[in-house]
């Protein structure tokens, strides 16, 4: 196909003939290469994005340095893997994806600055990136102003829906409600103690969880505590847990605090095989730092776990390990980040254009059947329909799935009755 593009006589008929002839033997040799002629650049890019006849530029914007680099490494690796797989399969509309990577440096203003650079200077057709809510909030006005396109991978608090953002992670209700129902029904849990880091995501998640516990499950919340980000001493709250003896400890502690919390919980003699603990902030990535022994027995609710048994996931895990080493673990956000480039590719191909407005218009209803988590669909509200799963942490740092919602759960970023 490459020689065809370099041909000096781009007559449509001639091209189609050549393609047919050249394509037959080639198809047998390279079954995964796309053979559709790359449509003319002028036709697929009317808004001045960085699209050439052979390349399209996509930005990757994560923290490589600073405190968030710990979490964002996986997401960034998954995006690169997805992009290289797309390129190996012929690219998007016949164009290879070129990555421009920027470091958000765990600093929200830097994220905004770099996002602007990716859109204004590099004219990226899409950007995969951000992790924390704060970084997303910082870049959001930039994406809206310059009509960029962001694929945001993290499970988050909801309360947001932007034309320029696709949220490939779960919003809060998707992640929380089904798992609370499960722990109530299966384990008979009635009393809950919430512990979170002090920022918007845990607070909103706990607000939703509290409403659900009180209004739907008719249980009680016996405590709700927040700790500053980076807090490392939890002995006092652990004593409070011992005093209140809740059926379930519900946690959304993040970062370094997470590690300290579980280590101290274990040290204080709270045995997670007897005490129910449900977390929405621990994936395989976090267990790496916490240590499998320290958290074994806890339940985590996510939409993806590395141990999921399905052919898509097996392929994904093998490819990920091939690219990034056998020891790397894959967490929920990593998988959600992996979806971004594919969802974008599908939307671009459906729209037949890289134009952001057309890609956005083509996205609702798109189905991605090869997702490692199984199958996802884009809702008109730019979030994904996905399943909720609850899994038990094992000492080896992996999870064993114990519950999976029977159907895909509808994303509901502005949940009625939970605000």
């Amino acid at each position: 196909m490459a020689e065809d593009q370099g041909n000096g006589l781009p007559s449509a008929l001639r091209r189609r003939l050549l393609m047919g002839l050249a394509g037959l033997p080639a198809m047998a040799l390279m079954p995964r290469t796309s053979f559709a002629a790359a449509p003319a650049t002028a036709a697929v890019n009317t808004t001045g994005l960085a699209v050439t006849d052979t390349e399209v530029t996509v930005g990757v914007l994560h923290s490589l340095t600073g405190t968030m680099a710990i979490s964002e490494t996986g997401a960034q690796q998954a995006e690169k893997l997805a992009i290289s797989q797309i390129n190996d399969a012929g690219g998007v509309l016949g164009r290879k994806i070129k990555i421009v990577q920027e470091d958000g440096a765990s600093d929200w203003p830097t994220f905004a600055e770099k996002a602007k650079k990716l859109l204004v200077n590099d004219h990226c057709a899409a950007v995969m990136g951000c992790w924390t809510s704060a970084s997303r909030k910082a870049v959001l006005p930039v994406f809206e102003q310059y009509n960029g396109l962001l694929y945001y991978p993290t499970f988050y608090e909801g309360l947001e829906q932007s034309k320029n953002v696709f949220y490939t992670g779960q919003e809060a209700t998707q992640q929380i409600l089904a798992s609370l129902d499960w722990i109530h029904k299966e384990k008979g849990a009635k009393t809950f103690f919430f512990i979170g880091s002090d920022y918007i995501w845990p607070r909103t998640s706990n607000k939703i969880a509290r409403k659900h516990v009180e209004n739907v499950l008719k249980g009680t919340v016996v405590g709700e505590e927040y700790f500053p980000l980076g807090h490392t001493q939890f002995n006092s709250v652990i004593n409070k847990l011992k005093l209140k003896k809740p059926d379930v400890i519900f946690t959304d502690v993040v970062g370094g605090s997470n590690v300290a919390f579980y280590k101290q919980l274990k040290a204080a003699g709270i045995d997670l095989s007897k005490q129910l603990l449900l977390t929405i902030s621990v994936t395989e990535d976090e267990i790496d730092g916490i240590g499998g022994d320290n958290i074994a027995g806890a339940y985590s609710c996510m939409k993806y776990f590395q141990s999921l048994k399905n052919p898509n996931n097996e392929k994904f895990v093998a490819a990920f390990h091939k690219m990034w080493g056998d020891k790397t673990v894959i967490g929920d956000v990593t998988q959600a980040a992996y979806l971004g480039p594919f969802l974008w590719k599908m939307a671009v191909e459906k729209a037949g254009s890289f134009d952001v407005d057309k890609v956005v218009a083509a996205s609702p209803g798109l189905e991605f059947k090869e997702a490692p988590e199984g199958y996802v669909r884009i809702d008109p509200n730019h979030h994904l329909w996905s399943k909720t799963r609850v899994a038990k942490a094992l000492p080896n740092g992996q999870f064993e799935v114990v519950y999976e919602s029977p159907e895909l759960i509808k994303p509901d970023p502005f949940p009625k009755g939970y605000q």
Binding site: P109, E113, S133, A134, L140, P141
Partner: protein, 382 residues
């Protein structure tokens, strides 16, 4: 504390020496002509952001370079100025019209997310632009006055003052992050749109703000120069070098120190307010220890004794940071860390020191030709 004597001469004290006028003209030329002509809109906005940090560096030259008071909490004042401005802009962006999907329309979105149903009292005055502009100056000045008076009256100084200001920066960050219903928490105050009806997000607005920022910066430099040349400035330097002698001569050392500290705070706050206007948000990540130290670095790289050096240093460090992190995202911390160490060890007086030691003597030797200075300084600076 032994430092090279500042270039001030006691007798024959014009407002600025010829070379300083040349430096000023050069700086103004770069800010108002070279950068706007050479940079695209995005880079110019970045340069504007850098120049808003230069206010902080300028303040540090006064209180650290001349006064010998190292504050590691300038981020606090930068943040206070920025937050005052951001509160005004946020209130304007949160009209009932814009926020009708909230359960309580008309209050900032983050308050709604935190179940706050009415605007807190301390937010209310920020609906007025004149009040906001006054607050940008007065709030940080007042805070600096309280801190300064408490510290300097009890003769706290040197490294001890530095780490107390640092502790204050840390505490304020935790407060802002913790009180997210009132402050926007770690996300900060985002999505700011208009200033008194004028959309600040457009390229043309960025351009105008850039020039306003530049003009304010030059005005601040002139004011700082005035302070430096005044008797007050000389007392500051005297205090830095021999505090006791100044005290025994009957001066109120604490009062002068507090004044320098307040002035630095006000400069920082102006920078913060200009930053908010140009970048479109304010967050606690400008208040804490890390940004405060970085701001000291700007002044150190530029030369802690030179008002112009501070501006050049700010531009240089930020330019290096942006370039390093764009080209070698995984290695730029090495470069930045190395720069700090190099400057401190080898060039304690920063760019201005290099200029004074190596460039200026040659220039003056070459038959007093100040016109050739413009070619020399950019080399030193960039």
């Amino acid at each position: 504390m032994i430092r090279p004597a500042s270039p001030s001469t006691v007798h024959d004290n014009p407002f600025m020496k010829p070379m300083e006028w040349v430096s000023l003209a050069l700086l103004a030329a770069v800010i108002f002509l070279v950068l706007p002509l050479c940079l695209d809109a995005f880079r110019l906005n970045l340069a504007g952001k850098y120049l808003s940090y230069a206010f902080v560096a300028l303040g540090l030259v006064i209180c650290w370079g001349f006064g010998g008071i190292l504050s590691l909490g300038q981020g606090v004042f930068f943040g206070l100025g920025g937050y005052c401005m951001a509160m005004y802009l946020k209130l304007e962006a949160s009209s009932v019209e814009n926020t009708k999907i909230q359960s309580t329309p008309g209050i900032p979105d983050f308050m709604d997310w935190n179940q706050i149903t009415a605007l807190p009292w301390f937010w209310k005055p920020f609906a007025s632009l004149p009040f906001t502009l006054i607050a940008v100056i007065v709030v940080p000045a007042l805070f600096a006055f309280v801190v300064g008076t408490a510290m300097f009256r009890r003769r706290v100084g040197g490294t001890y003052f530095a780490i107390i200001t640092q502790a204050i920066a840390a505490i304020l960050t935790i407060l802002i992050v913790g009180q997210q219903g009132y402050t926007g928490g770690i996300n900060g105050i985002t999505d700011l749109r208009t200033l008194n009806g004028w959309d600040i997000r457009t390229d043309s607005a960025h351009n105008i703000l850039y020039f306003v920022n530049g003009a304010l910066l030059v005005a601040c430099i002139l004011f700082a120069q005035y302070v430096k040349r005044s008797k007050l400035g000389r007392i500051l330097v005297a205090m830095r070098d021999k505090e006791d002698r100044v005290r025994f001569s009957g001066y109120s050392v604490a009062g002068f120190k507090t004044f320098a500290f307040c002035l630095a705070a006000v400069f920082a706050a102006i920078g913060g307010a200009m930053f908010t206007l140009q970048v479109g948000f304010m967050s606690p990540s400008f208040v804490g220890i890390v940004p405060s130290i970085e701001m000291v670095i700007y002044a150190a790289v530029g030369g802690r004794l030179s008002l112009f050096g501070a501006v050049w240093g700010t531009l240089l460090v930020n330019w290096a940071k942006t370039t390093f992190s764009e080209s070698f995202p995984e290695l730029w911390l090495f470069g930045l860390g190395g720069l700090f160490i190099l400057v401190v060890l080898a060039f304690p007086n920063g760019l201005a020191g290099i200029y004074r030691t190596y460039v200026e003597p040659r220039l003056t030797r070459r038959a007093k030709a100040p016109e050739s200075a413009p070619t020399a300084l950019p080399h030193a600076a960039e």
